[in-house]
């Protein structure tokens, strides 16, 4: 499915601010995988996502999607098959437009033409999909998204992304900016959609419990490298204590910010 081959990113190469954000990453994600990624701040998790999504071009190495080299493909082209949700719930939807307009924009990926697709059949379809969120949004189709809470907008972004049937979804701490209750709801929806639609997903989280609870693979990153990986049965046996001990063994230091990692968000 998606494969990273010897990928490195160096920012400000050749200057005093040179910063090796990712070094020699090799990773292969299979179809149907749900990979959770943990690591302290500055470990390179978000850089990894930005690179897969196309916001950053790697300094060396290549990215393959189903054996097709997409290393230099611009972000907007990759977006047609890579869905992405950010920590900021405002980034997935347009505040100044109504719910139905937002859903129409996100329903189909790729360039839009002078066609008017929003009709009553489409509205009915959107309404029937919104019911899955269980938030009563199906009765608020004409309201501007500015009226909705962060949790509602993030759940909506998730639903709309799933409807566009991406080959890979990237979740960059997409529940971190929400209150605990909404974070739980969005996380459960995420898990439900990934299973129901058999999606391939990668999720960054600051919450070790979530990283262990969800998905079939776990990656631990530090200083731009993947330092630990667990899959299947091995992952099921992990606990927070074991992960922290593992980190200590591998790096001979403590997790600098145990607190953030252990927090319940």
């Amino acid at each position: 499915m998606i494969a990273l081959k010897n990928v490195s990113i160096v920012f400000n190469q050749g200057t005093v601010n040179e910063n090796q954000a990712l070094s020699n990453i090799n990773l292969s994600v299979k179809e149907g995988d749900f990979v959770t990624i943990i690591g302290s701040n500055g470990a390179g998790k978000s850089t990894l996502f930005n690179m897969i999504a196309g916001s950053f071009v790697p300094t060396q190495g290549s990215i393959l999607l189903n054996d097709r080299d997409i290393t230099r493909e611009p972000e907007y082209k990759r977006a047609r098959y890579i869905g992405r949700i950010f920590q900021n719930p405002l980034l997935g939807t347009a505040s100044n437009m109504s719910l139905e307009d937002n859903m129409m924009i996100t329903y189909k990926k790729g360039f839009k033409w002078l066609k008017r697709s929003l009709n009553n059949r489409m509205r009915d379809f959107f309404r029937s999909e919104l019911v899955h969120l269980n938030m009563g949004l199906e009765n608020r189709m004409k309201e501007n998204l500015a009226m909705f809470s962060g949790g509602q907008r993030q759940a909506l972004t998730l639903l709309m992304m799933v409807l566009s049937k991406p080959a890979l979804i990237l979740l960059d701490e997409h529940t971190a900016a929400l209150d605990p209750k909404n974070a739980q709801i969005v996380l459960e929806l995420t898990n439900k959609f990934i299973k129901e639609f058999n999606l391939t997903a990668m999720m960054i989280t600051h919450n070790m419990n979530h990283a262990i609870e969800f998905g079939n693979r776990l990656l631990m990153m530090d200083k731009g490298e993947i330092i630990f990986e667990a899959e299947g049965e091995a992952k099921k046996e992990l606990t927070v204590e074991k992960l922290i001990a593992k980190f200590h063994d591998l790096r001979h230091k403590n997790f600098e910010d145990d607190k953030t990692l252990l927090s319940d968000e």
């Binding site: 611009p74 972000e75 907007y76 082209k77 977006a79 047609r80 869905g83 992405r84 950010f86 405002l90 980034l91 997935g92 939807t93 347009a94 505040s95 100044n96 437009m97 109504s98 307009d101 937002n102 129409m104 924009i105 996100t106 189909k108 990926k109 790729g110 360039f111 839009k112 033409w113 002078l114 066609k115 008017r116 697709s117 929003l118 501007n144 566009s164």
Partner: protein, 302 residues
């Protein structure tokens, strides 16, 4: 007097619709407008003098404006120039181009020529009181253009463009190149501005290279007046209507300033200052209204 204000408001209203598209929908402050307005006027004047079909002349003016806008967008997109600077660059270049279009002159009178307006006046004179013919004509023109814009922004492409100014990342995430959208939007906007210039030249009876001076300020002030008077809405039809109303009110204010300003010892030279102050006042009013809303909401939430 009143029909004069209305006609002017509607002619410049077409330009305001263009400014609305860049400033509000695309969030692309586009200063090309100061050059594309006289470009439209110059192209139309030349077409009239050359005896081209007048409706073809309008089309040529529109296309000229579109090209000017596309140039700005291309400079911004591909040379990574900030949008303001890209607009100023095109605007500056257009000054020379406009003089060329006018045949190396700064001003070309078309007073005694046959124009679309004179044709319309002749056709309907006697049927409708003379002073209302042009008013009626421009009401129809403005409504047709407004409805076309409304329809455009309800298509899939238009909707995506609507999201652009609010959330560029969302547009990228949908697999659409924001550069393409900017090019289409800024082009369309300047096409409208040039069209407005083409009508203005026929109404005023001349095309002048200085016609565009401060047009962007008039446009922005009109958009803001329209927004201030009517509540915020997410319906494009309401927004474009507000823009047109804003233009009419703005021209009423300018008209008052021009003809009755002497009461407070104002001269026509002070108009630009007044326009600027008007914008500042509007900004302050909008700001305080927003703060009030926030305070109200906080009270309700408690």
């Amino acid at each position: 007097m009143i029909e004069g204000i209305l006609v002017e408001g509607l002619i410049y209203g077409i330009m305001v619709l263009g400014v609305f598209i860049t400033f509000r929908v695309l969030d692309f402050p586009d200063l090309t407008v100061d050059g594309s307005f006289p470009l439209g006027a110059a192209l139309m004047a030349q077409c009239i003098l050359m005896g081209t079909n007048l409706w073809l002349g309008l089309l040529i003016a529109f296309i000229g404006g579109v090209i000017a806008g596309v140039v700005t967008a291309l400079i911004h997109n591909h040379l990574k120039v900030p949008n303001l600077l890209a607009g100023i660059l095109t605007m500056t270049m257009l000054y020379s181009i406009n003089i060329r279009v006018l045949g190396n002159r700064a001003n070309v009178p078309i007073l005694n020529q046959e124009t679309i307006l004179s044709q319309v006046s002749d056709r309907f004179s006697g049927l409708i009181p003379d002073e209302y013919i042009l008013l009626l004509f421009f009401i129809i023109v403005a409504i047709v253009i407004k409805v076309l814009i409304d329809l455009f922004f309800r298509t899939d492409l238009g909707l995506t463009m609507g999201a652009m100014g609010n959330n560029e990342q969302m547009v990228i995430s949908q697999g659409v190149n924001p550069k393409t959208l900017k090019t289409i939007g800024v082009g369309l906007s300047n096409g409208l501005v040039a069209l407005s210039g083409a009508f203005a030249a026929q109404y005023l009876g001349f095309a002048d290279v200085g016609l565009g001076q401060g047009i962007i300020i008039s446009g922005l002030a009109s958009v803001m007046i329209g927004e201030f008077l009517v509540m915020k809405s997410n319906r494009i039809g309401v927004l474009t209507f507000c823009a047109l109303m804003g233009s009419i009110i703005f021209h009423a204010v300018v008209y008052l300033g021009r003809y009755y300003g002497y009461v407070i010892k104002m001269t026509p030279n002070d108009l630009n200052l007044i326009k600027g102050i008007l914008i500042i006042i509007l900004l302050v009013l909008t700001q305080s209204r927003k703060l009030k809303k926030v305070a109200l909401k906080a009270m309700v939430d408690k």
